[in-house]
Structures are given as C-alpha cells and as structure tokens.
C-alpha cells in the first residue's frame, strides 16, 4: 500500500514525463510502427490505384534492385573506414592533448571546431578545395608531385566515396578526441608509476596499461559511431548525391531516392525496415558482448 505522500509523488512523476512521452509516442514510436507496417503495403504516391497488402514484395523488389548490393557494400566501406579513421585520429590527438603542453585548452578548442560546423558547410568547403579547376588541394598536390594533373576526386568512380570518407573523418574525429581524452585523464597515475618502477618502458606502459583502460569508452563511442555513420545522409548527399553512377550511394541515400524521387513509400519503408533490422542485430550483438564481458 502506497502512502499518501508516495501517491502524490507518483502523480507528479507522471505529470513530469508526460510531455516527453507524448513526443516520443507521436513522433518516434508511431512513425517506427508505420515504417514496419508500410513495408508490407503497396504504397506509391504516383500510382494510387496500386495499394493494399504486398506481403514481402517490397523487400524482394528492393533486394533485387540493380544498385542494392552496391549500396550495401558502399555503406559498409563508408562506415568501417570512417569509424576506423576517426578512431585513429581521435586517439593520436587525445594522447597528444593528455601531455603537459602549453596552451592545451587552445589546442583542444581548435580540434573541436570541425565538429561544431554544419555538415553542409564542411562538405561545401572541402568540395571547393577539391575542385579540379582552381581547387587548392589539387594545385598543391600537383606542385608536390603527388599527382601529375588535377584530379576530379569527387567525380570519378573509384575515388568519390573515399573522398567523402576522408571529409567525414575530418569532421567527426573530434568527438573521439574529447571522449578518449576524458578516458585518458581517468587512467590512474599510480598504476603507470608502479609499472615504470617495475621497468616497463613508455611503449609497454601504453599498450598494456593505458589502452586496456580505454576499452569501455572506446567500445561505446565506436558502437555509437557505427550507427551514426551508417545512417548518415547529409555528407554524401551534399558532396556527391550518391554519384557518379551510384558509386558513392549508401542505403540512406537509396531510401531518400525511393521516397522523395520515385514516391514509392512502400519500398522505401522496406529498405528502412531492413536497416532497422541490421541495427537491432548489431545492438543485440553489442549487448551480449558487453554483458558476457561483465560476467567473465
């Protein structure tokens, strides 16, 4: 039996969460249900005569689509390379910032800057620097002898995706820097000193003491970023729109094309549901890995 005071507290608690709950139910949970529902429906805004239950037809159509496998492969390349690059740059910069240097706050501030500007602006500025005619990076590379003549980095089949990956790393690595720096600062000084007394060198101390202590924070940010990167629409859209010839098209770009260019909401939903499936699978794997580690 709850006391009167507890009852009142519960009423207050409910009142406090209701606004956030309403937003969640109306604009998160309901649309999510709708995506799953629509993925089994024929729903085409251009062809309204076609509607009703579709079974798995939408899924079949999407998987059979000419560029589905390309988009899937691109999504994997895009995600893995981006997150790996971000992690390496984040770790290096975090270690450098963790040393006793003059102007540390300033350096830290400078390193965060790419992360706060809109993706659109970052993408556009790099596009300008990479243009084949008068782009400063092309001119520099020619002068340094790295390439013979200006190269259309964003317009060639084999470099478009990699170039966007490069720019994405530039914009996203600061998040890794800050998180890993926080992790490094909590590594216990005592343990490092003890290891030093036992004769462990700088490298040994880093690999065997510092890095293992970063495991939890690393696992978390890498996991979050795999999701954030895989579903990112802005970067690729702003820089290449998935082109040339679908060579930088990822699944989110494909969802957008199905929905807003072909108005085929059924197939777009099927693709979105599939991505959701991948995500849930990843989440479950992560969860099992994390809990097994805690137990063991």
């Amino acid at each position: 039996m709850l006391t009167l005071r507890e009852k009142r507290a519960r009423r207050i608690a409910v009142a406090f969460i209701v606004p956030a709950l309403l937003f969640f139910l109306l604009l998160n949970a309901f649309p999510l249900g709708q995506v799953l529902w629509d993925s089994f429906q024929l729903k085409n805004l251009l062809n309204k005569a076609e509607n009703g239950f579709a079974g798995l037809a939408n899924y079949a159509e999407v998987v059979k689509a000419e560029y589905f496998m390309t988009a899937l492969r691109n999504t994997v390349i895009w995600t893995v390379l981006s997150v790996a690059g971000e992690y390496v740059l984040g770790l290096v910069s975090a270690i450098a910032l963790n040393q006793k240097v003059i102007g540390r706050t300033l350096f830290r501030g400078v390193i965060i800057i790419p992360w706060v500007v809109p993706i659109v602006i970052a993408g556009m500025t790099w596009t300008w620097m990479l243009t084949p005619d008068y782009g400063i990076l092309n001119i520099w590379m020619v002068k340094l002898g790295i390439i013979d003549q200006p190269y259309y980095w964003l317009g060639e089949l084999n470099t478009a995706l990699l170039t966007v990956v490069f720019v994405n790393i530039w914009r996203s690595f600061p998040f890794f820097t800050i998180s890993l720096l926080a992790g490094l600062q909590s590594v216990s000084r005592d343990m490092i000193e003890a290891a030093a007394i036992d004769g462990a060198g700088v490298r040994r101390r880093f690999w065997h003491i510092v890095l293992p202590q970063l495991k939890t924070v690393s696992l978390t940010i890498v996991f979050i970023h795999i999701i954030w990167t895989a579903v990112n629409f802005d970067f690729i859209w702003v820089m290449t729109e998935g082109g040339p010839l679908h060579s930088s098209e990822t699944l989110p770009i494909m969802i957008y094309r199905y929905a807003m260019q072909e108005y085929n909401f059924g197939q777009a939903s099927a693709l979105a549901s599939m991505m959701l499936g991948f995500m849930v699978a990843g989440f479950v794997l992560y969860y099992f890995y994390a809990t097994r580690k805690n137990r063991g």
């Binding site: 507290a9 406090f16 937003f23 998160n28 008068y134 700088v202 929905a259 807003m260």
Partner: protein
Amino acid sequence: MLISRRKQRILTIATYLVLAGFTFYCLMPFLWMFVTSIKPDDQIRTLNPSFLVKKMTFGHFDNVLNNSAFLTFFKNSLFIASVTTVAALLISIFAGYALSRFVRFKGVKLFGVAMMLSQMIPGVLLLIPLYLLMKNVSLINTYASLILAYTTFTVPLCTFMMKGFFDTIPYEMEESAEIDGCSRVGIIFRILLPVSLPSLVSTSLFAFLNAWNEFMFGFVFINDESHRTLTPGVSLFKGLYQTDWGSMMAASVLSVLPIVIIFVFLQRFLVEGMTAGAVKG
C-alpha cells in the same frame, strides 16, 4: 620522473609537432573559406592561389546578402533553433528530474528505457512516416514541422544530460525546501536550476547546435523559399551559383559565424556536454 630527460624532450617535441599538424588540419578549410570569400574573382580562379589577399573585396558578401534569400534562411534557422532549444529544455528539465528522483516507480524506469532506445533510432529511418504525417496534418512548409521534429530528436539527449546534473545535487536540499512548503515545480525552478546553471547552458547549447546544423528534415519538409532554413538553403546555392565559389564561401562564413561566436564563449560547456554524452552512451 618516469622516463629519461632525453626521451622526455623528444616526446615533447613530437607532441607539439602532432598538435601543430592537427591545428593545421582542423583550421585550414576555415582559413581557406574565409580567404576565398574576400578575394575578387580573378584571385580565386588562378593556378597560383595564395593565402595572402592582394585586393580585399566585400562583393561576395554583398551578393549573398542582397541578391539572394540568405537573410531569410538565416532568420528562419535562428527562429526554429531558438524555439526548439526552449521547448526541448523545458520538456527535458521535467523529464530529467523525474528520471533522477523518481526511478523507484516502474513507469518512470520504463520511460528511461524508451528514451534510451529512441536516442538510437536514426532520423533517416523515420523520414518517410514523418513526412507523410506532416503532410496529413498540413504542416509541410511550416516552421512547426521542423520545430516538432527537432524537439523530438533533441529531447532524449537533453533529458539524460539534465538527469546527470540533477543526480549530482543532494536530495537534502529539496527536503528542507519541501518542509518549508515549496511545491515540486518551485523546487526545480528556485533551487535546482540556479545551482545547475552551467549545465543548463551546455544542454541548451547542444539543442541549439543540433537544430542549427540539421539538414535532412529541413531539406525534405520545406519546399518553399520563405520558410527554408540555412543548411538546405546554402546547399541549394550550389546549383544556383554554379562555380561562383566566392559567394558560396561568403555564405558559408556567414553561416558558421553564430556558431563560432557561441563556441568562443562557451567552449568549456560544450566539452562538458560532449563528455557527458559520450560516457552515458
């Protein structure tokens, strides 16, 4: 001393070199953006580009401000981001308080899990149903559509940030106020919020940045020039100006200006918020 003096010196030099490299890497695009925006066209379209500006011009800025809808986009973004910030903050103060003080109730715990999961749902997967929803209630091409979407996607993060801050404030402070007859809302606004003002700043900073930088929903929900926000607006300049990079970069400079100003003054809070977000996951 953990390492020999000679090694220490080498390490210090290496550290500064690495930091200098990162500084260049991070700042170079902005520098080039700014330099391009104040150069006349003949200095932009040259095979010998230089960071030195021989003849400064504000022609590109003039072009962007007076011959395009840039100012409209800017005002729209400012309005939408501000309203989103206030709305998200109000909602998440209460939700965060409930998560911090009332987790003993099963419903609140469940709500916490729901918030955590919703943080994981990416916007692009909800793009289609949200578009259809906005269309059905005729909110396409209105500020409300974006404010609603942005608030939804910012509330979970803000809620967890506020919860984290409330967790650090001892409950005893509230108890004495309660005995004095202060209501719950009164406690939050008179006692907790004044103490956690820095946290409030960093939370609102995040809400504002999220809304200001968002691209996809702004791109899809708004087709009408007078309601368009800054990020889709600027991206559409690309088609409009073709290769007038001077004007494009002038527009970019103007779009990052508010962020840079916020950033210079509030860097500390931003870092605090980022760390809170990362640790929580």
